[in-house]
């Protein structure tokens, strides 16, 4: 113990250098986390908050809106998870078939860009893209003889718009991990396969795909861990009165109830529920992934 204290004393400059970080983390992480105890209290502007136990949670679980937003969150997350997951893999495989030239460069530069745009900007782009009067999508529909359609106000279509715009934003960028895994494959494997008479299809299915197994499993499992986050920034920008009932998620609900209606305690209860499930999911998926692929979330 004495030796430890001595070492700490000799490293005192190091601990001083940690002070700013400690201050930031206490103010912007620890303090709000402690503040979540408000879920068990009634908020009072003047005087002390009143302890009410699980009252807000009982109210929360008996509110029909909450089951709707919970269902919406899971449905949207699962749609994105299952439908988008294979696309970056296919994209990387196809990109790998291209000769390394200007066309491939162009595909990469263009397809990575949306990842760096804010959801406000993407919504702006997509509103024009899907515009019933002048949008490119409806121009193409008309070309094939279909009537123009306003997808953004269609309850049946809006979740698909979320999936499509998320795919549009992430396919290119998310393919980088897979592309890197493909580029790391030892070329002598291909040569040996060709000598044995393999064709391109054999190469892809027997050599390339098995090398993508680790990143595939890791990314899939870790995405399951983030299932409670259905995409707040995206929904906030794509929502409108006609479709909100289909895409109202926990995060938008917390924002509305908590900050617009100022029901701090009730909204904190909803958020605490979400955060606890989130922690359980992230931790368990991290350890499952560590076990299967030796790679975790951090």
């Amino acid at each position: 113990m004495n030796a430890k204290l001595k070492k700490m004393w000799s490293d005192r400059v190091l601990y001083l250098m940690l002070l700013p970080a400690a201050l930031f983390f206490c103010l912007f992480h620890v303090w709000p986390i402690i503040g979540m105890k408000l879920a068990f209290y009634d908020y009072r502007i003047l005087g002390d908050d009143v302890f009410v136990g699980f009252k807000h949670f009982r109210n929360l679980f008996s509110t029909p809106v909450f089951s709707t937003v919970l269902a919406n969150t899971l449905i949207i997350s699962l749609m994105k998870l299952i439908l988008i997951f294979p696309l970056p893999i296919l994209f990387a495989l196809m990109l790998n078939e291209l000769v390394n030239g200007p066309f491939r460069k162009f595909v990469q530069i263009v397809s990575y860009l949306p990842h760096f745009l804010s959801w406000v900007v993407i919504a702006g782009i997509w509103f024009e893209f899907l515009s019933p009067s002048t949008g490119a999508v409806n121009e193409v529909l008309r070309l094939f003889g279909f009537p123009a359609h306003d997808f953004l106000t269609d309850k049946q279509a809006i979740r698909w718009v979320l999936v499509a715009s998320e795919a549009w934003r992430s396919i290119g960028w998310d393919s980088i991990i897979y592309l890197a895994a493909i580029l790391a494959i030892n070329p002598s494997l291909y040569e040996a396969a060709y000598v044995d008479g393999a064709n391109r299809w054999h190469i892809v299915t027997r050599i390339v795909l098995p090398h993508l197994y680790t990143p595939m499993v890791t990314i899939f499992i870790l995405n399951v861990g983030f299932i409670m986050n259905a995409g707040l920034d995206q929904v906030l920008n794509f929502a409108n009165d006609s479709v909100i009932s289909k895409i109202d998620i926990i995060d938008t609900y917390v924002y509305r109830v908590g900050l617009i209606n100022s029901q701090y305690s009730f909204a904190t209860a909803a958020n605490l529920f979400k955060s606890v499930i989130g922690v359980i999911l992230v931790l368990s998926t991290h350890f499952i992934s560590k076990k299967l692929t030796s790679k975790g979330a951090w």
């Binding site: 070492k7 700490m8 400059v13 190091l14 601990y15 250098m17 940690l18 700013p20 970080a21 930031f24 983390f25 912007f28 992480h29 709000p32 986390i33 408000l38 994209f91 196809m94 990109l95 078939e97 291209l98 000769v99 162009f106 595909v107 263009v110 397809s111 760096f116 804010s118 406000v120 900007v121 702006g124 782009i125 024009e128 893209f129 515009s131 002048t134 490119a136 999508v137 409806n138 121009e139 193409v140 980088i176 991990i177 060709y194 391109r200 190469i203 990143p215 890791t218 920034d233 920008n237 900050l259 909204a267 904190t268 958020n271 979400k274 955060s275 989130g278 992230v282 975790g296 951090w298």
Partner: protein, 294 residues
């Protein structure tokens, strides 16, 4: 090596990739075309066209001439630049300390960091903390918010671990303190990682709109993304053109609102496009270093 001969499957792949690339490229290029079009001809521009109809900078003149937009743009720049500089410095300094060998207490610190990384307190509590700190409607709220992102800190630690111990040890033996070793040895050797996490932070800060819309409520402190959301999502056109502007300038009354929106979106994209070559160069290595999740 791999035979690269022309086959039907290659043609198919070419078509699919071109198709996807065009669905990304055309809508973005179309917005640029709209923003630069002649106001009188904007209505002629179809959704799939990528060249402007005529040429005019009037939409940008209106935007930059609008004091509200100018102010929001300035606020965005202040938050992005100051915030990124602080973030990069403190993240690197913390990463330096946490990568020192035999640091007493490193394991509990790391557990603490991972705990606060995965436990999200949520917007209501963050709002109440900013309120208690009297930082609401103050640019500092967004500059200080998440100054150190734990995930980027872990990435930075992996970068610093790659610096050979011999270099830092040599400096220590020569009598340099930790602060000197950090500023004279580690910082100059970390150009690539500094740029990488600098890009991470800058992109995040420039694009942030949700927290800004909550913490920065008054017109004077609003940021570009929040204002843009008002035009694009809430379709609030009076702010964009400005009532006084409408009265003073007849030609503005005839401007196409969708072209003005397009021009604002273009302005919000410009810093990203300017940084894009650097982003492509360094961001990728950061993603690799950090493993699989951003």
């Amino acid at each position: 090596m791999i035979a690269k001969k022309f086959t039907f499957s290659k043609l198919l792949i070419g078509i699919i990739l071109s198709g996807f690339t065009l669905t990304v490229f055309v809508p973005i290029a179309n917005l640029f075309a709209k923003a630069f079009s002649d106001p009188g001809k904007v209505w002629m521009l179809r959704g799939y066209e990528i060249l402007p109809k005529g040429f005019s900078l009037i939409h940008f003149e209106v935007i930059f001439g609008n004091p509200i937009i100018g102010r929001a743009l300035l606020n965005s720049v202040i938050i992005t630049v100051t915030g990124t500089a602080l973030s990069v410095f403190f993240t690197t300094m913390t990463a330096y300390v946490l990568t020192r060998k035999n640091l007493v207490g490193k394991t509990p610190i790391m557990i603490f960091l991972i705990a606060i990384m995965i436990f999200e307190p949520g917007i209501v509590q963050e709002y109440l903390v900013m309120k208690d700190l009297h930082l609401l409607d103050n640019l500092w709220s967004m500059i200080l918010y998440k100054t150190i992102n734990v995930y980027y800190l872990i990435i930075m630690m992996r970068f610093i671990e790659d610096i050979p111990d011999s270099l830092t040890e040599a400096a220590r033996i020569d009598g340099a303190g930790h602060l000197t070793t950090f500023t004279r040895i580690v910082l100059p050797l970390s150009r690539v990682p500094l740029l990488t996490i600098g890009m991470f932070y800058a992109v995040y800060r420039w694009n942030e709109f949700f927290k800004s819309s909550i913490f920065l409520s008054s017109r004077d402190h609003t940021v570009l993304q929040v204002l843009l959301r008002q035009f694009v999502v809430e379709k609030d056109s009076t702010t964009l053109v400005g009532a006084t502007n409408l009265l003073e300038n007849n030609s503005i009354a005839q401007l196409d609102f969708s072209a003005l929106k397009a021009a604002t979106i273009v302005v919000a994209m410009i810093p990203i496009l300017m940084l894009y070559p650097i982003i492509l160069k360094y961001y990728t290595s950061g993603v690799m270093e950090g493993g699989v999740k951003e």
